[in-house]
């Protein structure tokens, strides 16, 4: 079991990168009026067949051959369902996969969003072959981080250069703060 929604995002997005996605869109949307926290992960990876898609919510299904369980998607789904939310996964071979998880924001069983800045930072730094578009929305305010913009400026300077890595972390945390005023979600 994960302890933060952001850890689920990290885990499920790892699947996108392993599916060969060249770009992953991650949206985290918080709406206090609608009492809703929505997470959307869209990739353009290899996608899944109907059979795979049907079994992916089953913890005893995995593409791995070394052991018989795959818990990433079931963990995320359980986290959403136990917090009065919903979970949906759509996929098409050759097109990509979209995962949507909705949580009732005020639900006592909703786990905290957690360190979303650290999560996105880690995804960006350790998957330099993949582009990420991360959008954070809080009560209608929003900011977007797009690694294609970083890449265009940086040229061949890698993301894991200390100065660049620090910049990306600050970019994420400052913009998040400007969007939600540091609210603990």
């Amino acid at each position: 079991m994960m302890t933060e929604i952001s850890l689920n995002i990290l885990d499920v997005t790892e699947n996108s990168t392993r599916a060969g996605a060249s770009i992953v869109h991650i949206t985290v949307e918080v709406d206090e009026e609608k009492d809703l926290l929505r997470v959307l992960i869209e990739d353009n990876g290899c996608g899944m067949s109907k059979e795979q898609l049907a079994s992916v919510k089953d913890p005893f299904f995995t593409t791995r051959t070394t052991r018989k369980v795959g818990l990433g998607v079931p963990f995320f789904r359980e986290a959403a369902l136990q917090a009065g939310g919903s979970f949906d996964i759509e996929s098409e071979p050759g097109v990509g996969t979209t995962v949507t998880a909705e949580f009732q924001l005020s639900n006592i069983d909703r786990m905290p969003l957690g360190d979303i800045t650290g999560t996105i930072h880690q995804l960006v730094i350790y998957h330099q072959d993949t582009d990420f578009v991360y959008k954070y929305v809080f009560n209608g305010n929003s900011f977007t981080m797009d690694t294609r913009e970083f890449r265009e400026i940086l040229g061949d300077v890698p993301f894991d250069t200390k100065e660049v890595s620090d910049y990306i972390k600050e970019y994420l945390s400052e913009n998040k703060y400007n969007t939600d005023n540091g609210k603990n979600i």
Partner: protein, 123 residues
């Protein structure tokens, strides 16, 4: 608000420097298992602690990377240190604090922290 102008300044500074190298050229590799098992047991802060410490202490020729499931889920978070000509060292049940010890003792001074290795932990 952090601007993209700042990033341009960083790029201009970095491009003038030699020694920017791709990860694959580094001789020491520190690998953290980041599959569901690793993440659920706390691998994210371990990876952050390692990457920050290696950058801050300017350890030369050392790349911190991540991998999928190492196959020993019950011992996660797992950190492997791979150096040319040496046997791979596998540390298990890592925390950010233990990871910093590994940076100081193993990566900087070359002493394996045998207390945390899989061989000793399983005795």
């Amino acid at each position: 608000m952090k601007s993209l102008e700042e990033l341009k300044a960083i790029r201009d500074k970095m491009q003038g420097q030699v020694g920017l190298r791709a990860e694959s050229e580094a001789s020491t590799r520190v690998v953290v298992g980041m599959a569901t098992c690793g993440i659920a047991s706390g691998a994210r802060p371990v990876l952050t602690a390692l990457a920050d410490a290696v950058a801050e202490k300017k350890i030369p020729d050392c790349a911190v990377t991540q991998t999928g499931c190492i196959g020993l889920c019950q011992y996660e978070p797992i950190v492997e240190v791979i150096q040319p000509g040496k046997e791979k060292v596998t540390y298990i049940k890592m925390t950010p604090e233990k990871a910093l010890e590994i940076v100081d003792k193993h990566l900087i001074r070359g002493q394996v922290v045998s207390e945390y290795t899989i061989g000793n932990q399983l005795k």
